[in-house]
Subunit: 145 residues, 2 copies
């Protein structure tokens, strides 16, 4: 999905088509995975002029609500965003607690979780699934100490 399709979807949901929102939507869809709000803000400002942080957050909220963007939580006190719905090819990460490097991991337990959840009538909306640890090079450095 490109930003224009997302933009149309927002329109269909009754959101007003403002200049600022368009800028944010464009930038989020231009970026890759795991974009921070701060980073999105500065890219918006660089390329397109005035945008405020609250507007970035508000637009991200509506994109997540609309199922156009995923909110990713790595348990490190910050939130990341990436284009794509919850059912798209979402993926998870190995996060190095030393250097912050993030590696994609192919594995996703969403299916089995949904099955398990179904038993108690629980409806899964978001899956937080990230492994924190040490990447190869940081693990090597650690061993030298």
């Amino acid at each position: 999905m490109d930003w224009q399709q997302a933009w149309d979807q927002l329109g269909q949901r009754g959101y007003r088509k403002t200049q600022q929102r368009m800028i944010v939507v464009k930038e989020v869809f231009a970026g890759g995975c795991l974009q921070g709000a701060e980073e999105i803000l500065s890219r918006c400002r660089e390329k397109d002029g005035g945008i405020s942080m609250p507007t970035v957050y508000r637009t991200l909220d509506m994109l997540v609500d609309a199922g156009l963007v995923r909110r990713v939580n790595l348990g490190l006190g910050r939130t990341w965003f990436e284009p794509g719905g919850p059912d798209d090819d979402h993926h998870h990460h190995l996060v190095c607690e030393q250097c912050g490097k993030r590696e994609k991991i192919a594995l996703c337990p969403l299916g089995i979780v949904e099955n398990e959840a179904k038993r108690s009538g629980f409806k899964v909306r978001e899956l937080h699934f990230e492994a924190v640890g040490l990447c190869r090079s940081c693990a090597a450095k650690e061993r030298k100490k």
Copy 2:
């Protein structure tokens, strides 16, 4: 493990045995799973008198470091703690985003994640794995709207 064993372990690690730390350790081990720092603080104050928030956090940090308590992140802007080491019978949760109810889930993908991670030399230390969604009763209410 009961609180006294944990207490001994802290001693063996060279931590000083202060009144305040003992109170916190007692309370954390008296509580169940997913205790918030705020909740731990107030229980400590109720039963044992003066303790400050920084001391609670500092003690929790050392318990986690010592592998006696787990830090659980549900991606909801807060951190939970529960007695038990990372390798004990740790478990994961279904978290209702509406009413906050948390159900244990038997499933744990730690093994397969470790395998997957090993391929790139990544050493897993902590697994964040929680599903957020709607519990049966909140899902029912949602449908009525």
